[in-house]
């Protein structure tokens, strides 16, 4: 109940303008003559110390960035921002956010412990002024952070006289703050409060998609101890977790990782893992992006708890194959224990927790390269340019077509990487140090180096997000079938049809649509999805980031497949220009029409050990799959899917809204299968009154 009330409080924005720049500026203006890294540190200190914390009446664990609202003249704030922007900030492509901090270590030593480590490191580097200076700056940000905690304490003390506040809650907050200012956390609530203070500080620094990591691992010792000593109940732990998760903004993507194994392969699922699922489920908001690592020895009970949460329609957690992710991460020379302690950032991106610079990624629109191949390197829809791979009249076989396509993709990958590098190199690492963030990354303190300047244990990695596996596989399958096997059309005719967006070429489009499609367990099409990941990952394997890290590939999309599709000409799979590309690593919606097992047989063919960033397979199941004995069948389906080599699955329990939309737009929902009665059928093929029957039945359930 208090969670819901807290959400209401949280959603009430303070008056004024959200302006972190105002506070940064107030730090900068103290002394603009300082060297830039010191100047930046002043900005961070100001963010932490000059803000007045907001404590909600339903807060148990405090911390939010609403304190960054200021009531100042708009024009004044714009001018301030302009100065702050000139000093500059890192952004997503220059490794600023999407990071999983070293919380397992932080909760062990506390902030005071980190400061001690800094002192220790300074002794070891006493002859290196540069490092000592950097360590001093790290310490200043931590001291400012302690001041921020102290400000929360003061604010809680001040609120004691306000009758609207619950004194017991405030006393709880005061105790936690007081402890964290002076020592490492000793209880579950102190540890959780510390993590949330850190997260809040990162938000104040304007970082986005900061993960909470393996909470069920690093908080479990506290949970266990408190439960044993009787100061904590399971219910209280869920309440405290809800108190945190409910303060995650809907626009943020805060990954939380549960489940999985330890370095020896032992299952690490525990009671806290369950508490976390329950808390995320109870909050029922999009922000806490829960991921569950599923290993071969993950208990069915846990997986069923995940399924139950997914079945509410919330869709959390996403289920990740520990085996595939660990295989994928094992290619890069990371220590075994660091690999096993991986978590995710953002949506699904695999991350060596607290040991590499923040993530970055970009989109590689593979289906775009058909138009270049067919039109001598010129984009037929959007005036873009690639290389001229020659006149298509000279292509006499599918093999030659593939050679040309590979040549186009190779060029595209080279260009992609050159542009990324240029962007990344534009940042002078020395000027853009991150003293506060570095305190939450191994081994920055020990080495006296910045997180982006050689301090992190492992170098930066970059994700190349491969778009449109379904569109590409279906297109290649159609080209092979229609052009080279049936010889029903020539490549020139295909080019003309695509250029004309199939207008006047409806017959050819029908032939292309009738060719085998990815997702029906037909190797004719599926082999191209296998090739897609093999070939593109081999291309991106050739590059290294500025500091020697690897390029991971991903097959994920969010909704970018829709935006990417808007700028891509018609493709040989029958897709019209501007239509979305296939989503993530899924087959093209509506074209995998042979049931979930066939879809899973197809999508487990690619070798996801090559997709270190991760993949997304979106599937929809009707809500009835989450109940009764069918729930066990869904469990078996998911387990078989992972055994067969699936990397990830996220499931939608079909909602009433979707069914209604399916009735309005049947083409789009062609592959939505519903159990009818005595048999299953495609929803859109049922008569309208049947659809209404099912719609109404669903509502009752």
């Amino acid at each position: 109940m208090s969670t819901k009330e807290l959400r209401k409080e949280f959603l009430q924005r303070p008056s004024g303008t959200f302006s972190p720049d105002w506070f940064r500026f107030s730090g900068y203006r103290q002394d603009f003559s300082l060297p830039v890294r010191e100047l930046r540190t002043k900005g961070i200190e100001a963010l932490f110390t000059k803000t007045t914390p907001i404590i909600y009446k339903n807060d148990l664990i405090v911390g939010n960035s609403r304190c960054l609202y200021v009531n100042e003249d708009e024009k004044l704030l714009r001018n301030v921002s302009s100065t702050v922007n000139e000093i500059g900030k890192r952004n997503f492509l220059t490794n600023s956010d999407h990071y999983s901090p070293s919380y397992p270590h932080t909760v062990k030593v506390g902030i005071t412990g980190l400061i001690e480590e800094i002192h220790e490191s300074k002794k070891n580097h006493s002859s290196d002024d540069e490092k000592c200076k950097r360590l001093d700056l790290m310490e200043s940000t931590l001291r400012a952070f302690i001041t921020m905690i102290g400000n929360y304490k003061k604010e809680a003390e001040r609120s004691m006289s306000d009758v609207a506040y619950d004194k017991e809650k405030l006393a709880f907050i005061i105790d936690n703050c007081d402890a964290l200012m002076h020592r490492a956390p000793q209880t579950f609530s102190e540890a959780l409060q510390l993590v949330w203070f850190c997260h809040t500080a990162f938000l104040m620094e304007e970082r986005y998609a900061m993960a909470l990591g393996r909470m069920d691992m690093y908080l479990y010792p506290f949970y266990k101890k408190d439960k044993e000593s009787g100061v904590l109940t399971r219910e209280k732990a869920v309440e405290l977790l809800e108190n945190v998760f409910i303060k995650i903004d809907s626009t943020d993507v805060v990954n939380i990782c549960i489940g999985g194994t330890d370095t020896d392969g032992n299952c690490t699922v525990n009671e806290l893992s369950e508490c976390i699922i329950d808390a995320v489920r109870n909050c029922n908001i999009p922000g806490p992006n829960l991921s569950a690592r599923i290993a071969e020895n993950t208990p069915d009970d846990f997986l069923l708890r995940c399924i139950d949460s997914i079945g509410t329609g919330l869709g959390y957690p996403a289920l990740m194959s520990d085996r595939i992710n660990i295989t994928a991460l094992s290619r890069f020379g990371y220590a075994k224990e660091d690999i096993y302690n991986y978590s995710m950032v953002g949506c699904i991106e695999n991350f060596i927790t607290g040991m590499q610079p923040p993530w970055s990624d970009g989109r590689f629109d593979a289906p775009r390269y058909f138009e270049y191949l067919l039109n001598n390197g010129i984009g037929s829809f959007d005036n873009t340019v690639s290389i001229d791979t020659g006149d298509i009249g000279t292509i006499g076989s599918m093999k030659e077509f593939m050679n040309r396509f590979e040549e186009q993709l190779r060029y595209g990958a080279d260009q992609y990487f050159a542009l990324f590098n240029a962007r990344n190199d534009r940042i002078n690492q020395e000027f853009f140090e991150e003293p506060f963030l570095s305190c939450f990354c191994h081994d920055c303190i020990e080495r006296g180096l910045d997180i982006n300047g050689g301090g992190s244990r492992y170098p930066s990695v970059h994700g190349a997000v491969l778009m449109g596996v379904g569109t590409v596989a279906d297109s290649l399958s159609a080209v092979e079938k229609v052009i080279f096997i049936d010889k029903a059309a020539t490549l020139s005719e295909l080019r003309d049809a695509l250029r004309d967006n199939f207008e006047g070429h409806e017959q050819l489009r029908k032939l292309l649509l009738d060719a085998p499609k990815y997702g029906n367990n037909d190797d004719f099409a599926d082999k191209y999805a296998v090739w897609f990941l093999d070939y593109l990952s081999s291309l991106f394997d050739r590059y290294r980031t500025r500091d020697g890290g690897y390029i991971y590939v991903a097959m994920a999309a969010n909704v970018q497949n829709i935006y990417a599709g808007r700028h891509i000409a018609a493709t040989p799979d029958g897709r019209r220009q501007g239509e979305p590309l296939s989503d993530a690593a899924s087959p093209t919606y509506g074209r995998d029409v042979r049931g979930a097992t066939s879809t899973f047989n197809s999508v487990t063919k690619p070798d996801y050990g090559k997709a270190a960033c991760g993949t997304v397979i979106n599937q929809k199941f009707s809500p009835s799959m989450f109940r009764g004995e069918k729930r066990q069948k869904l469990l078996a389906l998911i387990k078989a899917y992972f055994k067969k080599g699936g990397q990830e699955i996220q499931i939608n329990a079909t909602s009433r809204e979707v069914l209604q939309e399916a009735m309005n737009d049947p083409e789009k929902y062609k592959n939505l299968v519903v159990r009818v009665s005595g048999f299953s059928d495609y929803y859109v093929r049922l008569a309208r009154e049947v659809q209404l029957d099912i719609l109404n039945r669903t509502q009752h359930e």
Binding site: N521, R594, G595, A596, T597, S598, F600, N601, S624, M625, E629, K630, Q632, K633, A636, L637, K639, A640, K643, K644, P666, E667, K670, V673, R675, V676, S677, G678, F679, S680, D681, V684, R685, L686, A687, E689, V690, D693, I694, R697, H700
Partner: protein
């Protein structure tokens, strides 16, 4: 050996234990007016057209046992994980018992569980062809009254004697009762069904509440559907019927 196949449906989750593939055979000897699968009634190829999808389909294809086998074995991993397998259904699969038994035998050799979904209005000699190769039967029981059975082309006496024989031969049997308003949902039908089935020694019963689910197919076949306007069974009535059956059997209501 060629099999007359209407459809092979992967990821069947309502036709027996675990995840199954259901093989629908063409041809049926009953003519239940509420039938959900009218396209499987005839042994001949049946045309279905969906003008709003600009799509025409033909139901019915002669397939070799090996063809069917290789298609259903694609999902072996899912059967193994879920305790599922293959369900042979129809139409009335027992009208194709010779071919079905060759398929069922091959499936047994591959270690795949076989269930048979039948209305059972055939001589027991046909069951004998499949008994050795099947793990269980989903056995339809439409009405406890002989005249009503006759009206849909069936025979109550045959049904009862087949159930009895299967139980005697130690076959796993799940009785499936479609709950059809106006046909078998009245108190008398329910009470009588319970009486007959319990006397026969049945212990497991699945109730399938009526829904107007076949009407899209009737439309696609250009036929009228006499149950088009029949309302689905009120869930309260379903619960009452379930409660009555539960006095005698282990009962499940299928969605």
């Amino acid at each position: 050996m060629l099999l007359n196949i209407a459809n092979i449906q992967h990821f069947s989750v309502g036709d027996g234990p675990g995840i199954r593939t259901t093989v629908f055979f063409k041809g049926c000897n009953l003519r239940c007016p509420w039938c959900h699968n009218p396209e499987t009634l005839s042994f001949e190829k049946t045309r279905l057209s969906y003008p709003h999808l600009d799509k025409t389909e033909w139901c019915g294809e002669m397939k070799t046992v090996e063809d069917v086998l290789s298609q259903v074995l694609e999902d072996k991993d899912f059967y193994d994980e879920s305790g599922g397998g293959v369900t042979l259904s129809g139409g009335e699969v027992m009208l194709s018992a010779d071919g079905a038994s060759v398929l069922a035998k091959r499936l047994c050799e591959e270690g795949v569980s076989v269930y048979i979904d039948t209305a059972g209005c055939v001589p027991y000699s046909r069951f004998l062809k499949l008994n050795d190769f099947s793990d269980g039967y989903l056995f339809d029981f439409k009405t406890p009254f002989a005249d009503k059975y006759t009206s849909i082309g069936g025979d109550l006496e045959t049904v009862c004697s087949n159930i009895k024989s299967l139980i005697k031969d130690n076959k796993k049997i799940i009785i499936r009762i479609p709950l059809i308003p106006g046909f078998n949902t009245d108190a008398e039908s329910v009470n009588m069904s319970c009486k007959i089935l319990s006397e026969l020694g049945a212990d497991e019963v699945s109730l399938l509440p009526f829904h107007r689910t076949g009407s899209g197919k009737y439309q696609a076949m250009g036929k009228s559907y006499s149950y088009k306007d029949t309302k689905p069974l009120d869930s309260k009535i379903t619960e009452e019927i379930k409660a009555e059956f539960s006095k005698y059997f282990n009962v499940k209501v299928e969605a």
